[in-house]
Every structure is written in C-alpha cells, then in structure tokens.
C-alpha cells in the first residue's frame, strides 16, 4: 500500500536542512486555490529550494518496505536555465529521506533515479527500488528538492516556481511506498486465494483485514476495512471516503452496474462478517458507511450514506437515486417479489422481519418500516423523527429544495422501488390493500322544476 502526501503551503520548520521553502506533506489535499512558491537564483547559483516533511505515518510502519517512493513536482514556472530535482545539483544535495520525528537528522537518504528536471509540467522523481533500514515508527518521510541555474552569463534572477495546495486532479504530491507486501487487502488477499467470484473476493479481503487486526466487534471490523481504503487513498472528506470505498471495491472487480455496485459491497461485507440476521445486515450497511468516518449527526449520517451510494455509482436522476437506495436495501435482505415480500403481512421478506420486530401489522406500515429500519440504524427513537430524518436524508442528499418536489420524489422513490406501475396502486400504495366500499353508490334523486316560460321574474 502506498500513502499519498500532498504538497501544501503550510510552513513546517526543519532542523535537518535550511531550504528556501520548508513546507508540509499532508494527507489532506488542498480545497481551494493553488499557491505558488518560488525560489530565485542568480547565474550559476544553486539552492535547496523546497523541503516537504511532516508525514504522520501509521504507527505500524517502523520498517519501511522495499518500494518505489515518488515525488511528483508540479513546476508551473521555470527559467530556461534552471534544473531541479531530488538529487545533488552543484553544492545542494536534494533527496528522498527517512528522518527522525524531531526533524533534526536524516536517517537514510536516496536520490532520484532520473536525471535533473528542466522546464515546466508534472515531473515525477522516483527512488527506483528502495528498501530503507528499519527505524522508529515515528520516523517521517522527507522530500528535498534542489535547484540550480546553469552558468550562462545571464544577469538577474531565474526562478523555479511550483504549485502547492492544488485541489485538482494532478496536484504536486509525494508517494510513500513503504508498507510491506501482503497488507494491501484487496490485491494480496484475493490474489493469494485466486478468487474470481466478485462477492467472494471482497469477502476474503474484508476477512483478511479484520482478522489480521484481531477484531471481533462487527462494526469495528467493517470500520477497519473502510479505514484501510480511505487511509490508503489519503481521502479525508467524509462523504468522499464512503464514496471511495464503493468505487475502489467495485472498480477493482470490474463491476459497472449501478445498483449492483453498492449491493455487492454490502453483501460481501455481511458475508465476511458472518451476519445472517437481515435487520443486522441493513443496519451494518448504514453504520459501516458513517461510523468509520466519524459522522455523528443523525441527518448527516443518513445523507452521507445516500450520497455515497448515488455518487459512487454515478446516479444523478433524483428519483433514481432514492430508488436505488431502496433496491439495494431490499436486495441485500434477499427479496425477490418486491410488492409481495415488502407489503404482505405474514410474508417471508422484509415486512415480516421488520414489522415483527416492531410489532406492526398493517400494510401501510410495511413500507414505512423499511424507512424505520434506516432510522434505527442511525439511532433515532422518536417515530415521527424517524420518518422526517429519512425524508430529509433522501431529498437533501440529492439536492432537492422545492417542498413539493421533495415529497413527490420521496413518494416516487418508494413506489418505483417496489415496482408499482398501476396509477391507482401508485396513489394508494398498492391495490392489494385497498378495498373500495362494497356498497353500491346510488345518488339521491333531485326534483327539478323548470321555470314557467315567458313569465316575468317575481321581483
């Protein structure tokens, strides 16, 4: 597993070297505008221009593994006579390094495998295969960029300017590649057992991570799996973490079907954890998305779950988003006949499971109970509050603000999820449970006496 550290503008003083800019390695990517940092050079001069440190590696990595450590420099402006890189230029020794936590000494260094860079663009410096010696778990990863202006007889200064804090798709960044092989849960776990079935692949991966960590609590096991993905990818935004988990898992397995994506990960996780109780399955899905990323606000948790599903599978149509969530839930618990299993009291599906638990017997409550289950997942106890939260979660997660459209979307989502197409059924949520008054309708007779012709009005 590799960890990406973005190049940021926050100052981080180093006691190891004196560089023009001593700034931060961060797992958090910039979120707004980029920042330019520049180092000027007179004719023939060289400097230690940019130093990135403060990596906060996980505690378990005292012995960095053999890997290809990298530094991607986004050089936006450069004098034509400038060269730069993580190597020695003139009297300035740039390099990759393992440094102590106090940032007072280099413990081991490595120069880039490439020659010096010139010009502008994204420049990737690599160590090639580098296997640093074992050290302390608190050691940090340092990238030190040297720059030099060739002696050409020019005057004034020429600079190298790099972009940091870039929120875009190709930011300047460093890649620490020091986790030992065998701990990348998706690649190594599935490769080792030659799993080709997609559900089984995810299942094996989840088991590998959680059993290795000796976890027994169900949610803690799921949380561990989610964290391993988010930390590996350096994503910290809450919703994006949940989204990344889904994308990372399903894309790695080549799954493209929208609903199937979220369904698969849920099935795999609950199977991996040996969960057989259907309510627990649904509950695990919601909790596994929100708890690992620290969402505590009730509404925010449901929204995060809904957004993660819809964004991960690329659904933008509002009703389809809500519908997909419902389908995933019912599929997870093994419903095949949507209407019957959801709505029929005494059936074998979600209705029975959920309504038995909460003591509901009427048909209208059946559909509602699906939503109640979600509310339970996030810890709501107030009944009205449960439905309010769900409604808010659906419509807010897909950005609906018009109150009429919000209600309409929620209704559409519910009825489409259970496959109702008949107009009357739609209005009454299922003709099975709607029985018209058997008494024939007979309008009362009304006497009609036309006015006499050609008579003046009585006034």
């Amino acid at each position: 597993m590799a960890i990406t550290f973005f190049h940021r503008s926050t100052a981080v003083a180093s006691g190891v070297h004196v560089a023009t800019h001593e700034v931060q390695h961060s797992q958090t990517q910039g979120s707004s505008a980029t920042t330019l940092v520049s180092a000027g050079h007179a004719d023939g001069a060289d400097t230690l221009a940019f130093l990135f440190s403060s990596t906060s590696l996980p505690d378990s990595f005292a012995d960095w593994a053999s890997g290809d450590y990298q530094c991607v420099i986004d050089c936006t402006v450069a004098g034509a006579d400038m060269t730069y890189g993580l190597l020695t230029l003139g009297g300035s020794a740039g390099h990759f390094a393992r440094i102590n936590a106090a940032r007072t000494s280099d413990l081991e260094t490595r120069t880039q495998a490439e020659g010096a860079f010139s010009g502008t663009g994204l420049k990737t410096a690599t160590t090639g295969t580098w296997d640093p010696s074992a050290g302390a778990a608190s050691d940090e990863f340092e990238c030190l960029i040297a720059a030099r202006r060739a002696t050409t007889g020019g005057h004034g200064n020429q600079s190298v300017t790099i972009e940091v804090d870039d929120p875009g798709a190709s930011p300047g960044r460093s890649i620490w590649d020091g986790e030992a092989a065998g701990t990348n849960y998706q690649e190594t776990a599935t490769d080792d057992v030659d799993v080709s079935d997609t559900v089984a692949a995810v299942k094996v991966a989840t088991q590998t991570v959680t059993e290795a960590a000796d976890l027994t609590d169900l949610v803690a096991r799921v949380a561990s799996a989610v964290r391993s993905v988010s930390e590996a990818t350096g994503i910290t935004d809450l919703v994006t973490v949940a989204k990344a988990v889904t994308i990372e898992v399903t894309e790695s397995l080549g799954i493209t079907d929208d609903v199937q994506s979220q369904l698969l990960i849920t099935e795999a996780v609950v199977e991996a954890l040996g969960i057989t109780d259907t309510v627990t399955k649904v509950s695990i899905m919601g909790r596994s998305v929100t708890e690992p990323v620290g969402v505590t606000d009730v509404v925010a948790r449901v929204i995060a779950s809904a957004r993660s599903v819809s964004e991960a599978v690329g659904i933008t149509d509002q009703a389809t988003v809500a519908k997909a969530i419902q389908i995933v839930i019912s599929d997870v618990v093994g419903l095949t006949d949507d209407v019957i299993d959801v709505l029929t009291p005494g059936g074998t599906g979600l209705f029975e499971t959920v309504t038995d638990l909460v003591g509901a017997t009427d048909s209208t409550t059946a559909v509602k109970m699906i939503q109640v289950e979600i509310a339970d997942t996030v810890g709501l106890t107030d009944q009205v509050g449960r439905l309010m939260v769900l409604s808010r979660a659906i419509v807010e997660s897909i950005g609906i603000t018009d109150p009429v459209v919000r209600i309409a979307t929620a209704v559409r989502a519910l009825i489409e999820a259970v496959g109702i197409t008949d107009t009357v059924s739609t209005v009454f949520v299922g003709t099975t449970f709607w029985t018209p008054d058997p008494v024939a309708y007979t309008p009362a007779p009304v006497a009609y006496t036309p006015a006499a012709p050609d008579q003046p009005p009585p006034w």
Binding site: T76, V77, T83, G119, T120, G121, L122, T152, G153
Partner: protein, 186 residues
C-alpha cells in the same frame, strides 16, 4: 502556439501575446551596439514565456512548427563575454497532451538542445541534449529579435511587472472539459 513576450522598455509592461505563426511580424530593432539601456520604443525583447518557461538572452527567435513552436535563444556578444562562454538553447514546445507517466493526465511536452562554448559546463538530462557551440546554426533572420543589456534596477522592474503565467494556461488543443478558469486540469 501562444507566445508571451515583454519588450525592453523604460516603463515596463506586463506580458504581451502573439501566436508563434505571427512572430515575424513583431517590430524589430537592430543590434543595440552603441545604445545602452531600455527606451520607450518596442523592438528589443526583454523576455519570452512559453508554457511557463521564461527566456532572457542576447537574442531570440521563435519558429512556428506543427502543434507547437521552437524557441531559440543565444548569447554570443563578444562585448559581454569571451567566445568560450557562448551559449545557445533551442527549446521545442508541443501542445499539452495526456501523459501516461502521470496517470494519463495532461502534461507538457518540452525538449531542448543546448550549445555551449568550451568554457561552460552544462549537464545533459533526459530532456536536454548538450552540444558544442560550433554546431549551433542561427535561425532565419526574419525570426530574430534582439535583447538589450539593462541595469539591474531596470531589469528588476521588468521582472516585477510580469504576471506569473504557468504551463496550465496553455490550453490550445485541450478539450473544453479539461479547462477550468483558463487552466488545464485533469
């Protein structure tokens, strides 16, 4: 390709812009043999910027090529330096394109050939070839523009008046979907 240039004038202005195909139509002034310092007449170049790479030299030439341009700069004024320190650089710039080495994201495509006198030491690199000065061939005369030596104070003023322009602002040939606020992203 888009070329940014700055005239060497006493009241320096920001970058001006010209397409590389139109470079030959810019004002031209002769070698400033007896004149020292900038004045107010355009024609002497102070700097060029292509994809964020800035050039400052005795002489400049820009040639339009398919999907890009070639910029040549050189220092060979004997009044400023001995022949052993003559220096020239020919840079080739192509439009930005997806680069597999950075995950298919848009990146620059630049290369250079440097010609140096025997008294200079320039290292070669993957995108820089170093050759002896004797192999340097002057560009077509219609493309040549000259620079002028300025005092450090005047030169500093010209540098201060330039807005930083980086490689992501060279959007030619990049699909609209990859351009945000005039910058290439993704």
């Amino acid at each position: 390709m888009r070329i940014l240039y700055q005239w060497a004038t006493v009241s320096p202005s920001d970058w001006s812009e010209v397409d590389s195909a139109d470079w030959a139509s810019l004002p031209v002034r002769g070698l400033p043999v007896l004149e020292v310092g900038a004045n107010s007449t355009p024609g002497w170049v102070n700097a060029i910027n292509v994809q964020g790479v800035s050039f400052e030299a005795d002489h400049y030439a820009v040639e339009d090529i398919p999907n890009g341009c070639k910029v040549t700069v050189w220092n060979d004024d004997l009044t400023d330096r001995p022949a052993t320190e003559f220096y020239a650089a020919e840079w080739t710039f192509l439009t930005l394109a997806p680069d597999e080495t950075v995950g298919g994201l848009y990146n620059t495509r630049q290369s250079q050939v440097v010609y140096v006198g025997s008294g200079l030491s320039i290292e070669s690199s993957p995108d820089r070839m170093v050759k002896p000065w004797a192999e340097f061939i002057l560009p077509d005369s219609s493309l040549i523009r000259h620079g002028i030596w300025m005092s450090d104070i005047d030169f500093a003023l010209t540098v201060e008046s330039r807005t930083p322009k980086g490689w992501r602002e060279w959007t030619e040939g990049v699909p609209e979907g990859n351009v945000v606020d005039g910058r290439v992203v993704g």
